[in-house]
Amino acid sequence: MPITVGLLLALSFIVSLIALAFLIWAIANRQMAFDQAQAETIFVPGEQGHPDDATAAPEALEARAHHYDPVRAGIDAVSARPVLVLLASAIFWLVLGSLFGLTASLKLHWPDWLDGSPALTFGRVRTLHLNMVAYGWTSLAGLAVVMWVAPRIFHTALRNPRLPVIGAVLWNLALVMAAFAMASGWNDGEEWLEIPWQIDMLLAAAGSLFVIPLIRTAIARNVHHIYVSGWYWMAALCWFPVLFVVANVPLFYSGAQEATVNWWFAHNVLGLWLTPLGVGAGYYFIPKIIGKPIYSYSLSLLGFWGLALFYSQVGIHHLIGGPVPTWVVTLSIVHSVMMFVPVIAVAINQHVTVGRNLWALKESVALRFISLGAVCYTLASFQGSIEALRSVNTVTHFTQYTVGHAHLGAYAFLSFTLFGAIYHMMPRITGRAWPWPKMIPLHFWLVVIGFAIYFVALSIGGILQGLAMLDATRPFSDSVILLKPYLESRSLGGGLMTLGHLLFAAHFTAMLIARRPAGTMEGPRETRPAVAA
């Protein structure tokens, strides 16, 4: 394929030149001037060195009448309503999505359970689970974090705070319609793109209502520097609408080409949408809760651009050994391995910051969730890079191992991070402590132990399944029969996780309906950053 290879080389040469020119321009214009002091953008003067733990035991806080952050109360008050709407609906989808996930898991070892209704057949229940947790739980909870933290790092209140409320309502409406469509058998037939494209258009419109307030708030910011979390989130909110609309153009793609579009989208949804939401959250909450800035701020630049460059091209590793051109598969494998670079950059930054302040883990359950999430991001990414190697992929592709990997990323990384973020945000938003503080560690241990069982079972089971399928002397049935105990263990783990989610949802509801305090805390709608950067 001389033309293709030549074209490819020419392309990457031109792109490198453009990138280089851009870099020179950016440095010349001080667009990328960078120093460690800018990591302190998240603080207000005098705040550094003081841990900020919203989940601290109530007796320690009894002296205070409220849990508001007094300095930022004016900013938080504006974003409170959209954030609460987003969180309440996200947690609704978490619970419903988990119940569907658990049902799908049970059906794999009780195949004759609930087989009378087409809406409850495995293929539909599994699809409902994925779409509810991906587009309902993680996306909405991630957007809630963005809408709450972004104004804080920009040191000014959220602009157009009604738009995200409308956006959340429309988004949820689209998801309800999508759930009924998929339960009744109407779907677009591709993984991660099951939601009928007609409904997708509503989702895309709803999504744009989050972009406008974020950009307007960024423009109105009361600090020169944009903190690293802001890069991730602004980029994610640029990427996702493009991805979503391009991948959902109806009647345009077909056959093997459509498969490349499918996996270009499906992996970018993880890499360029869900991952930036979670990594950005880690970059804010870890230093904020500890009260000390991130370890190496310039390293975060490498992490961000590395993610953009490499992650955007890894998708075709889902088609290794498949009916698509060799070069595009190889390209994705190379970029999958290159993902080590940005992941190590993020890992050094986040883990060293936590590692130097281990005392804080004992104090704050929220930090425990978030830093464990950050560790799982590192692990999931390393695992993903290794899984993309041809020799490893031959064994693990088409097996339950991949399902375990997907949950290490979407659950242990992203969901743990979001749990911690919500535990930290809610007292600040409502001015109240969590009503049953002992239930927070219970939630933590239920989901951690549940997930550990889930992951170990599917990883071992998946490898054995893959090896059995590669052994021509063993019948295919071997790969099914050997999997049974591992599928049962997965249901046990998934059951514990679901139980944790039910506790979490109950706790969240109790906090929402608890008696309102005398009045909401008012304050200035701008804060002063700790650095004059």
């Binding site: 640029c238 598969v329 041809r390």
Partner: protein
């Protein structure tokens, strides 16, 4: 980074580049190939059956992309030769799949062509393989006291049969089986047909 516009432009530029390499260029390359010789478009009934396959999420357990003999024993298992891009020109949407909880189905029409076998298996997979974890699809069938003329009666072992009456396939079941029977990519393909050749043992320098 202190500016919003350069950040957004660069971020979108990188995505555009990835789209060019992962979507546009492979798309152009794949679309230059004619359909595999002998490959026929789906009939109306097969397309209806394909929709039943999609509606019930068969793709989540069954791939449709046999791997090459140099990578895996797919061909020895009867799943067929390595699939190439031109095998899928009539597939909208594609159903390549990413899981093999069950076997690959790209050549199921050649491997198990019997309509009776497929109908019984869809009604109750464990009537055929006691180890199977595939869901049963009783809602694609109905139980009647007596078969009417033109009804397709499904043979079900006593253990799984209803107490009274006979099991009759609904049109959706017949469509689905027609689609499964159409899955046959056993026709030969040119050696240079597009696919991932990264595992080829003989392909040093190819």
């Amino acid at each position: 980074m202190n500016r919003i516009a350069p950040l957004s432009i660069l971020a979108l530029g990188i995505l555009a580049f990835a789209t060019l390499l992962l979507v546009i260029v492979p798309g152009i390359q794949i679309n230059t190939e004619p359909p595999t010789p002998g490959l026929k478009p789906y009939t109306a009934q097969q397309l209806r059956g394909r929709q039943v396959y999609i509606a019930n999420g068969c793709v989540y357990c069954h791939s449709q992309q046999p791997r090459s003999a140099d990578q895996a024993p797919d061909d020895i298992r009867g799943w067929g030769r390595a699939a190439v891009a031109s095998d899928y020109v009539f597939d909208r949407p594609h159903l390549l799949g990413t899981m093999r909880t069950g076997p690959d189905l790209l050549n199921i029409g050649a491997r198990l062509p019997s309509r009776e076998w497929q109908l019984t298996h869809l009604y109750q997979p464990r009537a055929i393989s006691d180890w199977s974890i595939m869901p049963a699809y009783p809602f694609l069938f109905e139980v009647k006291d007596k078969a009417a003329p033109g009804d397709v009666v499904v043979s079900v072992p006593k253990e799984y049969a209803p107490r009274h009456g006979v099991v009759v396939a609904k049109p959706a079941a017949l469509d689905l089986v027609a689609y499964l029977q159409s899955l046959d990519r056993t026709m030969p393909v040119p050696a240079k047909a597009i696919r991932d050749d990264g595992y080829d043992n003989d392909g040093v320098g190819k």
